[in-house]
């Protein structure tokens, strides 16, 4: 039954639809190019890209593409949708365009676009804090500061040792802030938020210290990641919601699996700083095991909000999730012993992400089929 609503609807406006399509294309470009660049580092060439100049750039800027122009853009979109301010979309627009610049080999332009993106993103988070001043919103603002620090160092030409801890701090603090908000629902020790503040202060100190002393800073950073994994396992509501059903249980499984990888990443990060050969584990247990697992868990909830795509949740979502975790275990576990397995595992990581994208497509199609049947039922 059609009915007037006093809530303004903007979902279907042509400008909104065009903007959505443009953002989806730019985000997909960064993701696919970032994955291709990552595979290139293992000597795996994506079909049809062997002679392309962009592939070399994608290999060179794999981390910037994955963290800043893919995830940074998605997080920027998520926050812009939340504050409902058109100007807030300037942040994801700048970071998405930075991805195009990176692939064109224009690293300096990309670096300063990312600085602009993180400055606007910082302003958006100030708006959020003004609306609701709470520990989790203040933490989101701090995460924007970490992104800005990393982007400034990147724009100034600093290397991965200085930049990566800040970029990962941005993602880790964003996730921690969202989980902190959720822990308010669960009975917890009064000290829990303060413990998290201490752990995240160590993350920031480790990131800053890494610039001056990679060895000591890296050990502090790794220890902070390990402590964060402990905090999340101890206080997250996923411990409760994993006993629920459907989408809630799936999200909890993604979260809890991610926390295990976060702990592994912490140990590997400290080990790498001490000179042990664990860099791949440090970066990808964190980037894929923790952050992508988190992303897979939240996509069924976030995509309808930021991309206007509604999904029907079902068991197939567990397939790419299991594939990601298993392929990561092959890459980082057996791959440490047999180096050929690292490339196989990395390729399977990429396939897991593509399988997840296909699952999203299937779930969107299933929702449309279900909605069509529901509407037909209403009109009959």
């Amino acid at each position: 039954m059609a009915r007037a609503s006093l809530r303004p609807r903007r979902h279907g406006a042509p400008a909104v639809v065009v903007a959505r399509i443009a953002f989806i294309a730019l985000v997909a470009l960064s993701l696919l190019a970032g994955i291709s660049g990552g595979l290139l580092r293992y000597g795996v060439l994506v079909p049809g890209a062997a002679e392309s100049a962009w592939l070399g750039h994608a290999g060179l800027f794999h981390a910037a593409l994955m963290i800043c122009t893919f995830l940074g853009t998605v997080i920027g979109l998520e926050r812009a949708v939340a504050v409902k301010l058109t100007a807030a979309f300037a942040a994801p627009l700048a970071s998405a365009l930075a991805g195009v610049c990176l692939l064109a080999g224009q690293a300096a332009a990309a670096g300063w676009l990312l600085v602009v993106a993180s400055l606007v993103f910082g302003w958006v988070n100030v708006v959020v804090v003004r609306r609701q001043s709470a520990p989790h919103t203040q933490l989101l603002l701090a995460s924007a500061g970490a992104w800005l620090a990393g982007n400034l160092l990147f724009a100034l030409g600093e290397g991965g040792a200085a930049v990566l801890p800040w970029w990962f701090a941005f993602l880790v603090m964003t996730i921690a802030a969202e989980r902190l908000e959720m822990t308010r629902l669960m009975r917890r020790r009064p000290a829990a938020p303060w413990l998290l503040l201490g752990v995240l202060s160590l993350v920031v100190a480790g990131a800053a210290w890494s610039w001056l002393s990679p060895r000591l800073g890296g050990v502090a950073y790794g220890l902070a990641l390990l402590l964060l994994a402990w905090w999340l396992v101890t206080y997250d509501i996923a411990r409760r919601t994993v006993f629920a059903e459907g989408l809630s249980r799936y999200m909890a499984v993604c979260l809890l699996g991610g926390y295990v990888w976060l702990g592994i990443a912490g140990v590997a990060w400290a080990a790498t700083a001490l000179g042990l050969p664990a860099r791949d584990t440090a970066l990808h247990a964190l980037g894929l095991g923790f952050i992508f697992s988190m992303m897979m868990g939240h996509a069924p909830v976030i995509l309808p909000a930021i991309a206007g795509i509604k999904l029907r949740f079902g068991w197939p979502f567990y397939v790419p999730l299991a594939a990601l975790h298993l392929s990561l275990a092959v890459r980082l576990g057996w791959g440490a012993v047999e180096s050929a397995l690292r490339a196989t595992g990395a390729t399977a990581n990429a396939a897991s992400i593509l399988l997840f994208a296909a699952t999203i497509g299937g779930a969107a199609f299933a929702w449309r089929l279900g909605e069509g049947a529901r509407r037909a039922g209403e009109h009959s």
């Binding site: 998520e78 949708v81 939340a82 908000e181 959720m182 629902l185 509501i237 409760r240």
Partner: protein, 122 residues
């Protein structure tokens, strides 16, 4: 697997979830409609989380005051869409569904229902 129903009170019905003004015959259907809107992150309905601040049914509209746990929540519009969709099924055809998003007073865990608190280990 457990649902919120497994955590229902053994000591009689729980207190009213939110202030309601309007005809008695719509009280139950509106509560059921809002209870069908679930926040999947927490595996609970928005009524159990305590997001509904009040419902007022007038001659020509159903007015619902609702809050979110976070101002940084990107899922707000999805939840509001689901609320409209569910309320649309139970409100008389001539009525407008009006949703008002409010931030004051801010949400606290004291607003959670008894069974929601038991589910979360309180």
């Amino acid at each position: 697997m457990k649902t919120l129903d497994d955590f229902a009170s053994q000591e009689g019905p729980e207190q009213e979830a939110y202030p309601y003004e309007g005809p008695d015959e719509l009280r139950g259907p509106i509560l059921q409609a809002l209870t069908r809107v679930v926040d999947p992150e927490v595996a609970m309905s928005i009524v159990d989380v305590g997001l509904i601040y009040g419902v007022a049914v007038g001659d020509d509209k159903v007015h619902v005051k609702v809050t979110m746990t976070s101002a940084a929540c990107p899922v707000t519009d999805v939840i509001l869409d689901d609320m409209e969709r569910e309320l649309d099924k139970v409100a008389p055809p001539h009525m407008v569904v009006q949703l008002e998003l409010v931030w004051d007073p801010p949400w606290t865990m004291d607003r959670m229902s008894g069974r929601a608190r038991r589910f979360m280990g309180w």
